[in-house]
């Protein structure tokens, strides 16, 4: 493939946020008709680079050339006019609008009123050209994640984009939806589009990319042809040193059942059943992984065990005692700890404007006697946790809002592990962390497992679930669609269960 006259050329781009340099003299060249993967850990500067290309951020220095012309973007509009279309990880769609309204949003050529025929025709023609299924009158809030993504892609194509940027597009998709997306990407390159594919998942990059550029700590490390490299080399480049990527599953003796959930059903505020009779158990010293499409009931499951969600029917038996109806504080006192890292990381479990000490108090102040809070024990704990987990902070009295994502998550996990739990529920604990930190957290979980803690581990990355867990429970639409032995499970099998299709190899809905 020729790199003499690339269609898109980014040269020496630098962008800082406060004291943090997100991009430092980054270079990238992309040709027409190729899928160019941008590989790097969280925080390597991939999103910053793409946000500069799509006009959301303005670079501090450096230049961008498209078709040989130097372009300067001061807003997303400029980038769109230059043919750049960005499909964000968090979709930029208006929920209460229809597909069509989202497509024509911000368009100039339509004229004053919105109901004209020319646009409807344009939508039909385009959907035929790329074979994209779009129902123009469907509201976004009624769409599945896959449909929303198709709409996002359609939207940028409709605006005449010929450079498409997909930011971690598969993070929220099932393996089957991912396959579909890859077909769409192929069709786009056939139409001479350039596609930039951002990911940190090695398997996908190896599958779809033609060339790969690796970023690390805000700098370009290398650009390689896919055919001339391998996952090991890429990972080493990405992390900066030779790393052992395998996650160990440690063997522990079969112990007693710590938690048994029987026929658990809960209703949400609209009285719709969101958990529909879950049955499962976890032994002490076992990691039970939970896989499922976002919003299949993961959050409600965590919250009902922790006593935060009203249980409609069923039992949650922990060490022989039913937790249903107990107050959250009582459940915490019994040695159950739950941490849920939401998408914005700070929404639940931590208070952004408070310091580490006050965040540590959150789970234990209720056990204190009297009207006032004694902060002394928490101050000692804070110092200890900062040391043990190597948390980078100006001090224990610094608002945690100013810490980096990884350090914030360490505060959260540190607090939870510090309480010496017997049952540890953790949802998305590695969300947005770099590989090294991820592995540290897996090690911590394994350490707890060795101590005999029962662990319920909810995660997005199927590979991690397969490697780390003892068993994997797949939930779909508030039900258990299967519980698999992790050693024998495959991605495809889990993927099918995630969309509710039964496979023959499952242990059955309720296995001991």
């Amino acid at each position: 493939m020729s790199t003499e006259n690339p269609y898109l050329k980014m040269e020496g781009l630098t962008k800082t946020f406060g004291k943090v340099i997100a991009n430092n003299n980054v270079n990238l060249q992309v040709n027409k008709g190729e899928v160019h993967a941008l590989l790097g850990e969280n925080g390597a500067g991939k999103s910053t680079l793409m946000n500069m290309l799509s006009g959301i951020y303005t670079p501090d220095s450096g230049s961008i050339f498209i078709g040989g012309n130097n372009v300067k973007f001061s807003s997303p509009k400029d980038a769109i006019d230059a043919g750049i279309g960005m499909i964000h990880q968090h979709f930029k769609l208006v929920d209460v609008f229809t597909a069509k309204e989202n497509i024509i949003l911000g368009q100039k050529q339509g004229g004053f009123f919105t109901n004209n025929k020319k646009m409807g025709q344009g939508i039909r023609e385009l959907s035929q050209k790329y074979q994209l299924d779009i129902d123009p009158d469907k509201k976004v809030y009624d769409m599945s994640v896959g449909e929303k993504q198709t709409l996002e892609i359609f939207k940028v194509l409709y605006r005449g984009a010929n450079i498409l940027i997909l930011d971690e597009p598969t993070a929220v998709l099932t393996p089957q939806e991912t396959t579909k997306l890859f077909k769409i990407i192929k069709r786009m390159t056939e139409q001479d589009c350039a596609v930039i594919f951002i990911s940190h998942k090695m398997s996908e990059v190896m599958e779809i990319a033609d060339r790969i550029t690796v970023l690390r700590k805000g700098q370009t490390i290398a650009t390689l042809d896919k055919d001339k490299t391998n996952p090991k080399e890429l990972t080493d480049l990405m992390v900066g040193k030779s790393v052992d990527l395998s996650i160990k599953r440690i063997e522990t003796p079969k112990e007693e059942i710590a938690l048994e959930v029987k026929n658990l059903s809960v209703l949400n505020e609209e009285k719709v059943q969101v958990l529909k009779g879950l049955n499962f158990n976890i032994r002490s010293g076992e990691i039970l992984g939970v896989a499922g499409i976002a919003g299949s009931g993961q959050k409600e499951l965590c919250e009902s065990i922790a006593g935060l969600y009203p249980v409609h029917e069923g039992e949650i038996i922990f060490k022989g005692e039913n937790l249903v109806g107990k107050k959250p504080a009582e459940i915490i006192a019994k040695g159950v700890t739950m941490s849920f890292v939401p998408e914005d990381r700070l929404g639940m479990g931590l208070v952004a404007s408070m310091n580490i000490v006050d965040n540590l108090i959150l789970k234990q102040y209720q056990a204190q006697k009297g009207f006032l809070i004694n902060r002394k024990p928490a101050i000692a704990k804070a110092k200890e946790i900062v040391k043990r987990f190597d948390i980078q902070t100006p001090g224990i009295y610094h608002p945690i809002r100013d810490l980096s994502g990884g350090n914030i998550q360490k505060v959260l996990l540190g607090r939870e592990l510090d309480s010496n739990p017997e049952l540890l529920i953790t949802a998305y604990p590695v969300r947005g962390l770099d590989i090294n930190t991820c592995h540290k957290i897996y090690d911590l979980l394994n350490e707890e497992k060795k101590k005999g803690v029962a662990i319920l581990f909810i995660a997005e990355d199927l590979d991690v679930l397969i490697e780390l867990c003892d068993r994997i429970m797949v939930i779909w639409d508030g039900r258990v669609s299967g519980i698999l032995d992790a050693e024998k499970a495959t991605r495809e099998e889990i993927g099918l269960l995630m969309v509710g299709e039964k496979s023959d190899k499952t242990e059955g809905a309720y296995a001991i």
């Binding site: 630098t14 962008k15 800082t16 946020f17 406060g18 004291k19 943090v20 340099i21 997100a22 991009n23 430092n24 003299n25 925080g43 390597a44 500067g45 303005t58 501090d60 220095s61 001061s74 690390r216 700590k217 805000g218 700098q219 922790a306 006593g307 935060l308 107050k327 959250p328 504080a329 915490i332 739950m338 849920f340 939401p342 700070l346 929404g347 639940m348 479990g349 931590l350 208070v351 952004a352 404007s353 408070m354 006050d358 108090i361 959150l362 789970k363 102040y365 209720q366 204190q368 009207f371 006032l372 809070i373 100006p394 100013d402 980096s404 994502g405 990884g406």
Partner: protein, 358 residues
């Protein structure tokens, strides 16, 4: 774009105080332009305002008397605001506190003074608290917008007092003048150092509210809930109960201010007992960043502005509304100054290179 906005990672105390002081100065300069429009010398006016607020022992006493309800109500509002509950119903809560206290004062005028005053205080606290519980209940139950409900309740309380004044509680001996009978001497708060005892109550409240907000469990829960309802739920905080308790507290403190005003200042129930303090308290509370100690400062500052406003009205014939324009200006510039504390505007240059790419 030659300039860009950049988030500051930290700012020194001196610098942030400096920016705030500059904001007040700019507010005074802008207000000065209004005064200039009236063909007056702003500096003369400002000096005479200072004189009007602090120029003699009598004026200082008057300023303190104005500051008392402002300070107490602000302390109450601070609790609600910490929870991000926009209680702008201070006026109504003051009035209802005064109404409950007056009910005791008018019906049992002859009980011994200490007992009567204690009962009146309890009544005032209940009156303000219960009135605030109405929006708190709706908020806790259905998430009803508290801003508007608390505000509407101000008007309802005002109409209610007017109704009493013109109707059932009208003084038959007032020669047709629509007013409520004066309290008996037993129902009047005593004076200490020439100012009614409310100033001592206010200072005690500053300390109590400070301890409550910084060191009590409830205060901590309020702070957590104010920042994130999800986190509060996660920590096992009873959200509905916390809303009800804290807003009851918020309203009851305002109600106590109402009792003090009725007993010590107007010596009867009248629509004027609140006198806009519920609204001004919103400003003083916000300017003080909800900190009880700073509220003490901002309340005295605004009491001085109110006193001097009426002083310059007589001295220069300037409408007393000039004072509320100055108040608004200070608030505008303070609100605006926050931006310069959080962000820095820098010239665009190629950034210096260092490590770190989080």
């Amino acid at each position: 774009m030659l300039y860009r906005i950049e988030k500051r990672s930290d700012i020194s105390k001196e610098k942030s105080i400096g920016i705030r002081a500059l904001a007040i100065l700019l507010a005074l300069i802008t207000s000065g332009a209004f005064i200039f429009l009236l063909k007056l010398n702003p500096i003369d006016v400002y000096l005479s305002m200072l004189d009007g607020a602090f120029g003699s022992p009598y004026r200082i006493r008057e300023t303190i008397i104005t500051a008392i309800p402002l300070l107490i109500t602000s302390l109450g509002l601070a609790i609600a605001f910490k929870m991000q509950f926009w209680n702008i119903g201070g006026e109504g809560q003051i009035l209802m506190g005064a109404f409950f206290a007056s009910f005791i004062a008018l019906n049992y005028p002859d009980i011994p003074k200490p007992i009567l005053l204690t009962l009146m205080m309890i009544a005032g606290i209940l009156g303000g608290g219960l009135w605030a519980l109405i929006p708190a209940f709706f908020k806790a139950q259905w998430g009803t917008n508290e801003t508007i409900v608390t505000l509407m309740l101000n008007y309802i309380a005002l109409k209610w007092i007017t109704f009493l004044q013109y109707g059932p509680w009208r003084d038959p001996d007032a020669l047709g003048f629509p007013k409520v009978p004066n309290f008996s001497p037993n129902a009047i708060l005593p004076k200490v150092f020439g100012v009614h005892i409310g100033w001592i109550i206010a200072l005690i409240l500053v300390v109590l509210v400070y301890i409550f907000m910084k060191h009590s469990k409830k205060g901590y829960e309020i702070a957590v809930l104010g920042e994130s309802e999800n986190t509060a739920r996660y920590a096992g905080i009873n959200i509905k109960k916390t809303i009800l308790v804290s807003i009851f507290l918020s309203g009851s403190i305002a109600g106590l201010a109402g009792m003090i005003q009725a007993s010590a200042v107007s010596k009867t129930l009248a629509v004027s007992v609140s006198g806009g303090m519920g609204f001004t308290a919103i400003i003083t509370t916000w300017l003080a960043a909800l900190n009880p100690i700073f509220i003490l400062v901002s309340s005295i500052l605004f009491a001085a502005l109110i006193r001097s406003g009426s002083f310059i009205q007589t001295a220069f014939g300037i409408p007393s509304a000039a004072a509320s324009i100055i108040q608004a200006m200070i608030l505008f510039f303070f609100l605006g100054s926050h931006f310069f504390i959080k962000y820095r505007i820098t010239r665009k240059t190629s950034a210096k290179i260092a490590q770190g790419g989080e």
